[in-house]
């Protein structure tokens, strides 16, 4: 289901343990990781993650709230969005 796919975008100052902290939270909330990309842009660490919440017992909102807290802990900006917005906007 398209509705089950989410895109997580994390950005900020690079440091040790970013991926570990995020993926631990995802495992806890039973979000399956389908693709990960990371890069350095203008000196900042940026990570994109495609996840599926199909197998999760938690709602989108619960997962998003948990990930926003992770963002706060890491002092990084985090966006959690359903993937459909990107599919609609960038495909004909």
């Amino acid at each position: 289901m398209q509705d089950d796919k989410i895109i997580i975008t994390l950005s900020g100052k690079d440091k040790i343990g970013i991926v570990a902290r995020l993926t631990t939270a995802l495992a806890e909330y039973k979000v399956n990781i389908e693709d990960i990309k990371q890069t350095i842009m203008q000196g900042y660490f940026v990570m994109f993650l495609l996840g599926s919440i199909a197998e999760s017992d938690y709602s989108f909102k619960e997962i998003k709230d948990a990930l926003l807290k992770v963002g706060e802990e890491l002092q990084m900006e985090i966006w959690v969005q359903k993937k459909q917005i990107f599919d609609k906007m960038h495909n004909i």
């Binding site: 895109i7 975008t9 389908e34 693709d35 990960i36 990309k37 890069t39 940026v46 994109f48 993650l49 495609l50 989108f60 909102k61 998003k64 966006w79 959690v80 969005q81 359903k82 993937k83 459909q84 917005i85 990107f86 599919d87 609609k88 906007m89 960038h90 495909n91 004909i92």
Partner: protein, 455 residues
């Protein structure tokens, strides 16, 4: 996108975060025709109950969707059947009471505005229409969420000059009854030619008589996104490429709006109506239609060339939007409200943008003379004549035009009217001081125009 396309993700987030892309409104359009009764109290109760039944979850669902896609949904609104039709069957008219019941319902469900306190009188007025029009000043002064619109003209019917004359007076009275807030009542009152019945934007939203029982209409906006897209092109890029870039950008904005609209409609279990792709500015920096003119190479809004720039912008926006959705409707184009656009406010304050230039621009924009503050002592006949001119532009050009002017009580040219929020602030602009009284006093109707020999 099966895998991650990081460029697309960054572009989308930038559009939302930096360029102010938002869903300007999700508007629940609802027929109230079945609320008619001989007893006005019964009509009021029926209206209240029906709105609660259909709209109680509107705000909650909009907030959920906003969270899921991280795109702001600025306004949640309701548009209803023109109330003149709903209240007309009553033995005794009391449109102010009906306005209060609409207001109470709007407050209960938590929407920002409710539109449709209006009448369609392009060819003539019924008794109910007249009673409603006469109740407007008091209705807008005694309510908080009501918006009112009156259709005074159409390309098929001509211009109802009796009603135009009346509306000049009604606008003035409405402003005077809300004098302590710089005549804000008049900011919630709009006169139309060729009013669309599926427009989700205020103050002109209403649920047209050919519309279904209910529908969810969406208005998207993004002047900042269009400005940024134009600025991303190399300097001196030709109009051909410029128009294409605007179309592509409009496409992206519209697809997003349609996604949100369809999700909202599904949650509310009602049909999706239309998406209205309008570049609706806000007073925030970087969210300005005037800013688009500057990005196109004009020194400021009002410079010679502004009308051509607006014509191209309006057309390109429509073309991009049409491709993105099966059902594009409403006003769909570029809005040029003065008080709601930081660039327009600046241009008007500095004298770059005059009332006459604005009128010229309305012949190619998607709406009309919008949110323009004029001196409080402007004669009623002059206000009526401003309306007549604007109706004529719409009637002859077969387009929607509108007038939302505010004769600000006690203020003169150079003063400022301040409304706050999305309504912004407006410098009081000068109007032509010559008298139009003899013209307006004639009354009657300007006949419908010929639809051939188009020269």
């Amino acid at each position: 996108m099966r895998f991650i396309n990081s460029e697309s993700i960054i572009e989308t987030i930038n559009m939302i975060k930096v360029q102010h892309l938002d869903i300007r409104t999700v508007t629940l359009a609802l027929s109230l025709r079945d609320c008619a009764d001989r007893d006005v109290r019964v009509v009021g109760e029926k209206i209240y109950e029906k709105i609660i039944k259909y709209a109680s979850k509107l705000v909650e669902y909009a907030n959920e969707i906003e969270d899921e896609y991280s795109i702001p949904i600025i306004n949640k609104r309701i548009a209803v059947t023109p109330i003149s039709l709903v209240g007309e069957s009553c033995d005794e008219y009391d449109y102010v009471y009906l306005a209060k019941m609409l207001d109470k319902a709007a407050e209960s469900v938590g929407v920002n505005f409710i539109g449709g306190f209006g009448a369609l009188v392009e060819k003539g007025c019924t008794r109910g229409d007249i009673a409603l029009i006469e109740s407007i000043p008091e209705a807008l002064a005694q309510t908080k969420f009501i918006c009112s619109s009156i259709n005074l003209a159409s390309s098929k019917s001509g211009i109802n000059m009796d009603a135009v004359s009346k509306m000049g007076q009604i606008i003035k009275e409405t402003a005077e009854l809300t004098a302590t807030e710089d005549g804000i009542g008049a900011a919630k009152l709009v006169c139309f030619c060729n009013a669309p019945g599926d427009n989700p934007f205020m103050a002109g939203a209403f649920h047209g008589i050919g519309e279904p029982e209910c529908a969810l209409n969406v208005g998207v906006s993004g002047p900042g996104v269009v400005s940024a897209a134009i600025e991303s092109l190399p300097e001196g890029t030709s109009f051909d490429e410029l128009a294409n870039k605007i179309k592509q950008t409009a496409y992206k904005i519209t697809t997003t709006g349609e996604l949100i609209g369809r999700e909202m409609a599904q949650k509310l279990k009602i049909p999706f109506g239309v998406i209205d792709l309008s570049l609706a500015p806000t007073p925030e920096e970087g969210d300005s239609v005037a800013g688009i003119f500057q990005a196109m190479g004009l020194e400021h809004a009002g410079a010679h060339g502004t009308t051509a720039a607006l014509a191209m912008l309006n057309d390109a926006v429509k073309k991009g939007g049409i491709m993105a959705s099966s059902h594009v409707g409403g006003l769909s184009g570029a809005f040029i409200p003065v008080s709601e656009d930081a660039g327009m406010i600046e241009a008007a304050s500095k004298g770059y943008l005059t009332f006459d230039k604005l009128e010229a621009m309305t012949s190619v924009c998607s709406v009309g003379l919008d949110m323009i503050a004029i001196p409080g002592d402007t004669p009623v006949e002059t206000i009526s004549s401003i309306i007549a001119d604007e109706m004529a532009i719409g009637m002859i050009n077969k387009k929607t035009t509108a007038v939302r002017v505010i004769p600000v009580p006690g203020k003169k040219v150079g003063d400022k009217a301040v409304y706050g929020g999305l309504l912004g602030e407006a410098p009081v602009m000068s109007v032509n001081n010559l008298s139009s009284a003899g013209f307006i006093r004639r009354g009657g109707r300007i006949p419908a125009p010929i639809h051939s020999l188009n020269n």
